[in-house]
Assembly symmetry: C2
Homo-oligomer: 494 residues x 2
C-alpha cells in the first residue's frame, strides 16, 4: 500500500468511526502534511481518493468536508419462507426483465450483467482474431460433446483454487451456466419431483425448475451464513426431496459466502438423506478476499455434488461458455446435454482456453475483484445517501449484486412499473421466490459504470422508494393505497 492509500484508509476509518462527522470540515492539506510527516501531494492524493469514493466533498476555497450520510442500514434478517413444496410461476415478470435488455436506453439496475469494459479483457479480442486468422477447421466442426479438451484442462486447473482436484474428463462444457444448471437438474429429477432451494433463489434457476415441472421447497436463508441447515433437515425429514440447489459462494442475490463448516454440514446432510447437491459457483471467483472460498464440490467424496459455473460473470456472458463437473451423474448430464443443444459453440471455447493459457485470466480476475469491491463502496454510499431510513441492505462478500429489503407492505412490482417510465429497470424481489414472497425486496447490480447517469438513477430510485414507503406506512390502510398488491406480496422478514 502506498503512502497516500495508507493515509486515505486511516481517514476513511476515522470518518466511519464518527471522529469526523457528516458535514464537518476536514483538516487542511498543510496540517495533515505536518501531522503525518508526508508531502503536500501525498495528502492531496489521499483526499482525491476519498473524494472518488464520495466519502468527502471539496468546497471551493473552503477545503474538504465529510459528505453528510446516514448510519449504515442493517442487513436483512433470516428469511422465513413457507415450509412446503410449491409450484413456480412468475414467467411473465422474468420475461419483462429479459426484454428490458433489448431497450438500449434502459438503465439496467436489475440485470446480472458484469462490467465488460475493463482493459484486462482486451486480450480476448486479440485471441479471437488470431484464432480466426489461423483458420483451424476444428473451429467449424462439431465439437466433442464434452467440450474442447484444451478448455476442460484449463477449467480443471482453475478449479484447484476452489480446492477441487478434478481431471479434464470430469468436466463438461455447456452453453453458459444456465445450461449447466438445466442439465444438472434434469439429470437428477423427473417432473413432479421436489428440490430444496435457498430463499431467495436466483430467478433463472427458479424458472428452469418451473419449466421442467419440478416443485421447490424454499429453505430459510441467512444473508451472512446461507441456507439454514436446521430448516433443511426438517424439510428433508418431511418431504421426498431429490436435490438441493445452492449458491454458497457470493450468493445471488444475497452476496454471502457460506462458512466452510456450514458447507461441510450441508454435504453431511446430503449424504445422510442421499440427495444430490447442485452447486452454482458462477460468482465464486469474484469474492473480494484472497484466497477464494472453497466449493462444496471440493469436499465431496462420493460424487453427489454437481458443480456448475461459467465464464459469464468473470469474462463475458456473450461467450456462452459454462461448465459442469457432474460427479457420478456424468453420463446422465451428457444425455441431457445431447437432447437439449448437442455440442457447445467451438470457437468461443477455444478463445477462452487460449485466453487462460496465455496468462490473461488471473490479472483480469484480480482487477475485477478490486473493481467490484470499489463499486460496492460507492454504491453503498449512494444507497445510504439517496434511500430513506428503515431499509435493510446486504453486505456482499463478492460479485456485484445487492439485495435491499423495504418495509413489509412495500410493492416493488409497482415500483418497477413506475421506474420504467424513467428508463430504469430493477429486479423485483418476488422473482426470487416460488411463493411470490419478497415483493418488498429488490436486487440491484453495481457492475454498472459509475457516472452521473447511474448516480441520478440511484437518486430517482431512492426518491421513488421514499414516496412509496410513505404510502405504505402502517398508518395508512394498505388495501386502499395498494390496490395492485397481490396475495403473495406478504412480508417475509421482521
Amino acid at each position: 500500500m502506498t503512502r497516500y492509500q495508507h493515509l486515505a484508509t486511516l481517514l476513511a476509518q476515522r470518518i466511519e468511526q464518527g471522529l469526523y462527522q457528516g458535514g464537518e470540515r476536514l483538516p487542511s492539506v498543510r496540517t495533515l502534511s505536518t501531522e503525518h510527516g508526508v508531502s503536500i501531494s501525498t495528502v492531496q492524493q489521499a483526499y482525491h481518493l476519498l473524494e472518488e469514493k464520495q466519502l468527502i466533498t471539496p468546497q471551493p476555497r473552503s477545503g474538504y468536508f465529510v459528505t453528510p450520510r446516514k448510519a449504515a442500514p442493517p442487513v436483512p434478517a433470516i428469511s422465513r419462507p413457507a415450509q412446503r413444496p410449491v409450484e413456480i410461476t412468475q414467467w411473465g415478470s422474468v420475461l419483462e426483465l429479459i426484454n428490458a435488455r433489448l431497450e438500449e436506453d434502459m438503465l439496467q439496475l436489475g440485470s446480472g450483467m458484469p462490467d465488460i469494459s475493463q482493459p484486462t479483457i482486451k486480450p480476448l479480442w486479440k485471441v479471437m482474431s488470431r484464432l480466426a486468422q489461423k483458420q483451424d477447421l476444428r473451429m467449424l466442426n462439431y465439437d466433442n460433446i464434452y467440450g474442447v479438451p484444451a478448455l476442460r484442462e484449463q477449467v480443471a486447473r482453475l478449479a484447484i483454487d476452489s480446492g477441487c482436484q478434478l481431471s479434464a474428463d470430469e468436466i463438461v462444457i455447456t452453453t453458459g451456466c444456465h445450461e449447466a444448471l438445466s442439465v444438472s437438474i434434469r439429470s437428477v429429477c423427473q417432473p413432479g419431483d421436489i428440490i430444496a432451494v435457498e430463499s431467495p433463489t436466483f430467478h433463472g434457476t427458479m424458472q428452469t425448475l418451473h419449466g421442467f415441472g419440478i416443485k421447490v421447497i424454499e429453505i430459510p436463508t441467512d444473508c451472512e451464513t446461507g441456507i439454514s441447515l436446521e430448516a433443511l433437515e426438517l424439510a428433508l425429514d418431511q418431504w421426498p426431496i431429490k436435490a438441493v440447489v445452492v449458491v454458497p459462494n457470493c450468493n445471488n442475490p444475497l452476496g454471502f459466502v457460506m462458512p466452510d463448516n456450514r458447507k461441510r454440514g450441508l454435504l453431511a446432510l446430503a449424504q445422510r438423506f442421499d440427495i444430490a447437491i447442485i452447486e452454482d459457483d458462477v460468482y465464486g471467483e469474484l469474492v473480494y478476499d484472497y484466497p477464494r472460498p472453497i466449493t462444496i464440490k471440493s469436499l465431496d467424496q462420493d460424487g453427489r455434488v454437481m458443480l456448475c459455473s461459467s465464464f459469464s460473470k468473470v469474462l463475458a456472458p456473450g461467450l456462452r461458455v459454462g461448465w459442469v463437473a457432474p460427479g457420478r451423474y456424468l453420463d446422465r448430464v451428457i444425455h441431457m446435454k445431447y437432447i437439449g443443444t448437442g455440442s457447445t459453440a467451438t470457437q468461443m471455447q477455444m478463445t477462452v482456453a487460449e485466453f487462460i493459457r496465455l496468462g490473461h485470466y488471473q490479472p483480469h480476475l484480480r482487477r475485477m475483484r478490486a473493481h467490484y469491491q470499489r463499486n460496492l463502496d460507492i454504491f453503498t454510499h449512494w444507497v445510504r445517501h439517496y434511500f430513506p431510513c428503515g431499509i435493510c441492505v446486504t453486505r456482499p462478500q463478492g460479485g456485484f449484486l445487492m439485495w435491499i429489503e423495504l418495509p413489509e407492505a412495500f410493492d416493488s412490482v409497482r415500483l418497477n412499473r413506475e421506474l420504467r417510465e424513467c428508463n430504469i429497470q430493477i429486479s423485483v424481489g418476488s422473482l426470487f421466490s416460488a411463493a411470490g414472497k419478497y415483493r418488498n425486496c429488490l436486487r440491484l447490480n453495481y457492475a454498472l459504470p459509475f457516472n452521473p447517469q447511474t448516480e441520478r438513477a440511484l437518486a430517482i430510485l431512492g426518491a421513488a422508494v421514499e414516496r412509496a414507503m410513505e404510502c405504505c406506512m402502517p398508518a395508512i390502510p394498505a388495501a386502499a393505497e395498494l390496490p395492485e398488491k397481490s396475495e403473495g406480496g406478504t412480508a417475509v422478514n421482521q
Copy 2:
C-alpha cells in the same frame, strides 16, 4: 451449360441408357470432335469430367472405356413400422456414435458432418477476424434472447426462397437446430404425450423426444414421397397425438423431397386434427435442383407449423447457430429457450449475419449443392461397385446422406462393431427407430473428401457387408449364425 458439359451429359445419358455397355470402348476423341462439330479440347474436357465422375476409365494408348458396373440397386420400399406409440431408448448406441467423433483417425461414414473445407467458406474466417478487431462490446454482452436482430433479418430474407413471408420478429435464434427442435417439442408437449414421426427418423430428434419422456408413433414413410398421409390419418384417428415431426426437404436419412401436394395434404391433416407440425428444414437449402422446394411453413395460415433449421449443414456445425420460426408458439418457445440455455453465443450470430450481408452465402450454397451432387454420383458408383447385389439404396434429392437397406436378417450393429476395428464408423439403422427397427439398414455420409482412403473404406465396408450377407442368407439358420441379433432386428421392408 458450357459445350463440354453438354457433351458430357449426353455421353453420361448414353452410358446410363446402356448404349455404351460396361467395359466397352468409347469413340475416339477425334471421332467425337467430328461427329459433334466441337473442338478436340472440348471432347477432352468432357471425357475428363466423366472420368472424374468415374463413369469412364482411361487406358493408356487405348482410349476411354465405360467403367464396368452393376445395375442401379432399387430404392427401398415404403417402411412398415408398428402402428402404436412406443418408448424410445437406444441412447447407448447414439453415445457410441457421438464418441466416435472424438477418435481422430476414425473415418466417420456415419456422421452428419458437412464438408467444411470448400474455398467459398473462407470469407467466414475473415468476417470472424474483422469482427474481433472491431471490439464491438455487443459481442461480449448477453444477447437478446430472441437472437441478434441483424441475423434474424437475414434469416427472414433467406426464408423467402422457401416461400416463407416471415418478419425478423417471428424468428428465434437457437444453439443449432438441435435446440430449435428441442424447444419446439417442449413447447407443445408434456412428458407422456404422443408425437408422430416419419419412419425412419433422425436419431437426434428421437433422443430429444425420449429425453423429455415423450412417446412416438412411427408412421410409414416412402423414400421418394415422404410420410404416408393415409397411415398418419389412421394414427390421428386412434391416438391423442399432439404434434408431428417431419423433415420434408432432403429428408434425414431418406433424402427425399416431399411433393408440394403432399405437403399441403399434411398441413390439412394437421388442421383437421388440430395438431402442431414441427418441420425440420436443416438440409432443405442443399437440394440439388433449383429453385429450392417450399417448406410446409410457407403454406401455414394459422401459425401451427414450427420451422426449425440452422447453418450447421450449409456453413459449419461448430458455429452452433440455428433458428426456429415458431408461429403461434413463440412465447412458449422463448420460455423453453430461457430455461434451457438462455441466449445463444453472440459472436457466432454476428459472424453469420455479416457473412450473409456481404453476399458470401449464395455462392457458397451454389457450390455446396453442386459439390454434394457430384459426390453423390461418385458415392453411388462406389456403392454399386463395392457392395453385393440384393441391397436397396436411396436416391437423395439433396443433402449428403444415403440410406442403404440390406436383407432382413442383416445385423448392422454387429457390422459396426467389426468395422470399428478398421477405424470405420457407420450409423446403424436401428438408431432411427424407437422400436428398434432398421437393424438391417445403415446411413452413410457422402460429404467426405473423395480420396483413396474414402474409397478404400467403401471397399472394406462393401466386403464386410458381402461377408455378413452370406452369413445371414435364409439357407443358414439365422439364430445359430447371429447370436448377437436382438429381437428388435426384424426386417421392415420387403
